[in-house]
Symmetry: D2
Subunit: 338 residues, 4 copies
């Protein structure tokens, strides 16, 4: 971290700053220029609050050089992480499509969709049991009953299951869930992240819709700091001024994350746009840009689909998308997969 002092800083103020930094085990390297004195911070600055320093009276500006995340940092883990989800691998050249219904509704629904998406090449089954809903008056999910139905579908198809957790108190209910999803709204629910860090479960961490890439990595760091390195990142659209799509899918996050971290990156084209017609082009684009996986909503029999998710594909449409994805995959952008 580099701290540029204001021109009129006094020696005793500088000494005060140095003493305080030393008390935090940070050494300083002072460089006196024509107009400005520059203080270089040497040591582990990841616990230093940059906002705090930038607001000191004597400070003109601050610049972080080292990223504040360590466990999630590519610099310290050159080789791509490969996360093993009950035998299904993702990352480091392993590509997976996670597919399934928005909400788990019934045994028939879940099992039927599981079989269909498996036939199309999906590697994991997703399904919501606990649903975060903006309105308290909306359907909130089947809860533990939903997880049971997912497990039955797993038994039928062999697909590992993925479901969203909303509360650390529910961790015991997710013992048999293969990949535990943290939703966008809980990306900075730090209490939940800490508890998940104590488990060794694979975690699918979704980017909050107004969170930066660095904040996503800091949330991954929360889980990893607890000792759980099985983190998969998921971009699902960010909030912008554009209203023709529900959110704006930020595909540049793929190369940026590939540079910053070794963790696998999954793209969710279903939730970002909010319309089924956007899923195919965005799934293909994400694949071409080198994502490690996709997460796609598939709904039940279209004849009864009146109340299914607007962003969901029918099994037939999903089959077409999956085929195109597998065709494009060999030509996808490659990153250093050492």
């Amino acid at each position: 971290m580099i701290v540029v002092l204001k021109p009129n800083t006094k020696q005793e103020q500088l000494d005060h700053l140095k003493d305080w930094l030393h008390s935090l085990n940070i050494d300083t390297h002072i460089s006196v220029g024509e107009n400005h004195t520059i203080v270089g911070l040497v040591g582990d600055t990841s616990s230093i609050d940059m906002d705090l320093i930038s607001a000191l009276d004597i400070v003109e500006t601050v610049k972080r050089i080292q990223e504040p995340f360590k466990n999630a940092n590519r610099k310290f883990h050159e080789t791509d992480a490969v996360v093993d989800v009950s035998g299904v691998k993702i990352g480091g050249g392993h590509f997976q499509i996670i597919a399934g219904p928005c909400s788990v509704e019934s045994r028939e629904q879940v099992t039927y969709i599981a079989q269909r998406v498996k036939e199309s090449g999906a590697g994991m089954l997703r399904g919501g049991a606990f649903k975060p809903r903006t309105s308290p008056y909306s359907f909130q999910g089947l809860h533990d009953e939903g997880i049971k139905l997912l497990l039955e579908a797993k038994k039928q198809t062999g697909l590992p299951i993925v479901s969203e957790i909303m509360n650390s108190e529910h961790i015991p209910l997710f013992e048999d869930v293969d990949l535990v999803q943290v939703g966008a709204r809980n990306m900075q629910n730090f209490e939940l992240l800490k508890e998940l860090g104590k488990t060794r479960k694979p975690i699918l961490l979704k980017r909050g819709l107004a969170n930066t890439i660095d904040e996503l990595l800091m949330s991954a760091e929360y889980i990893m700091a607890g000792g759980n390195e099985n983190v998969i990142l998921c971009e699902r659209g960010i909030r912008t001024f554009e209203t023709r799509t529900r959110n704006t899918l930020d595909l540049s996050a793929i190369p940026v994350l590939k540079k910053l971290t070794h963790l696998p990156i999954v793209i969710d084209p279903s939730h970002a746009g909010g319309y089924a017609y956007l899923v195919k082009p965005m799934a293909l684009a994400a694949t071409a840009a080198g994502a490690d996986g996709l997460m796609i909503e598939v709904h039940n029999d279209p004849a009864k689909a009146l109340c299914d998710g607007p962003q969901s594909l029918t099994p037939e449409a999903f089959d077409e998308v999956a085929n195109l994805v597998f065709q494009i995959r060999p030509y996808a952008c490659k990153y250093d997969e050492k």
Copy 2:
């Protein structure tokens, strides 16, 4: 809610839609125009998912007429709500300044600041015991020890205390906290909101930094749907592209919220901008615009303040701001306080 159908919609598709809506206890009023058929939904549409309907094949566009929030809706509660926080009233013409340190650090710190802000006219004491931190390596607060120190300061000064909760499991620890704050990052932690709805504690609900005003009201609705009507809303800055301020304080939220809801509105000018020099102008602006209260960070002895919050005022600076606020208050914008 008004649903505009696509020009080529068939009668049986329309009937299918009507049947489904009737099954949800929604009546329909059909109006056939030259190019489009319009379906008016009659009944309580607050549980209808607008995204879902807008994505149906036969639907051109959807428009909600009634807001999806009821308990928080000014239309059904013309009179301003007055929330009583252990004897200190806010809303309906009652104006309060909530002040105190970012984090509770020690007995001396909290008690000293409490006395100083009380002398300047503050009506409540704030202080963080559980701190949401972006980095797992940053100080996370004194936890229940911090709450104890706040309670001692309350005993000394008589000021009701305000502190942030991060997890529904902690609710018992907050039994003696007079006003329980839900932070911006937890605004859509629906599990926490539901649990707080079961209590009768006054809740200070902060707007998430990427949440719309409508989403803030839906989160208030979560608490109120549980029977807890003691909700105070707080605007604390939203995330925009501007980088000279940490967040952009959205003061237009005051008149917009005054129109939509009867709940009191508090502005936090300390966190929005991220710099102490922004607190005074924004506190005065918020007061002039008709806020029901302010929430301002005040730090300890400036001589030792190196690690205090960059957005905090000294007790002296706070005293000056409070004086100006009380001078401007009589000229502030007034809303219908029936």
Copy 3:
């Protein structure tokens, strides 16, 4: 357009509104519901200002059904437009890469790059002669001298040339430029758009970095309303809160625009991200999503490249990207190219 009136609207107010609309050649279709009266506007509502109506005292809400753009509207032009740029076609299945240096610097530079990008398969040569610069102290381009150098490179290679115009007074200077670019900052320079609408030159219209897709189409409409239908749209990144990329490339704009308009869509992956390492993944993603073309910056000899654009590729890197793009192109998302 549908106008929902407030519950307490009087008949004479409604009559007033109807009279005014009739004076604008708009017929009305009134539907009286239980709580609300709905006014359907029949006729060409493209000149009606929706903001204006929504702010009338008696109006609860307004919803536009027909898009306010006509010439650029897919509904009235089912077949994809094919724009002919001096013999090089784009749109309707014709795919082109436009490549070249950020600024035209010298004859050698431009001719060398032109030859290299042609060998790699580029269909047009871009180069800036007039440069929009945030700072008045930055290099502003070679102006008409730059255009002359582009024309010489065209003579050598046969590639049609693309260059940005900043002022309607410069139109005569662009007489021999094959494709005239309107930059993001001038997307709503309506005076410039109107003048370009009087020409019959192909126009490459870039989306402003804070403009919606609808606003982009309204700006295309400005050009087309003047009789010039040769408009190509270009997405080049929008402004969001994310700071790891200069702008956020909005690839969802491809399917959204394909649905709304018949005009060709080009993606500029160089300017969006601001870093060369983002160009390859975003070029592949844009191709997979079904863009009609790409616009890529290529710089000169890397040994002298110290002052070249940070987002530019070397000719070698461009060659690799172009090859991958042509490989992915057969598997790209297809839209109705009737």
Copy 4:
């Protein structure tokens, strides 16, 4: 400017960088640390493109210390600028309300409104003659006829007039306009700014709805670099995700601009929100925060006002707002007005 080099930078690469900087008249100050070499740039760095340097292979990160604007920089002009608009002063303690209709429609309209707003205390008359409209099918203004009508109203009332220019070709038409407005959409129409810099006319420069405060100051710099120092800045709302207001009024821009520049700052509460009910609270808030002036839309006889701007006040409502503004003004936040 401070440039941090990557750990593995070679001496010859560093020499290359130094030579290039020297060729631009920039001296360098090298500081070799444990991990990183830091290059301090000494001299006038305002013409150095920071993006360019940050993208060099050997550069880890760049930090600007000096702002790239000079003429608009408070550091070099401690005393508040006072702009004299035909005898009416603004800035440095002089506060003005600019009021008038959105569009000039007729002699009666403009003269009537001019008289009314003058009686309420307005210091200048605004009125649109050339209107930037999103749709080519909307009313585009009365053009030079509109300016003539404004001049007649000026003759009647003595109020200096303010009107928006959209094209440098129109500068001769604005010879008698006292304060020439550059609208938000033209804030980065650099050709227009340059031409206005050659005049000595007072310029009201509006912030673009997606432009940062620094970009606003760089656009002011364009005008001032030409020798025209009579620039007044205007904040009119920025584009965010919130949809309950048309734009989000960024009142924090007042203290931020007061710190960075000596130029006067005007707030336009009419266009930001898009609704008349937001004008009063935002006008009071802007005044309390220490703005140097307000710009408020006032419309004609409300009985005929059906097609007037939704954000306009009646003369009666304006009178009430102006009264409250003048009452609050003595208590407004003060900045160093040396």
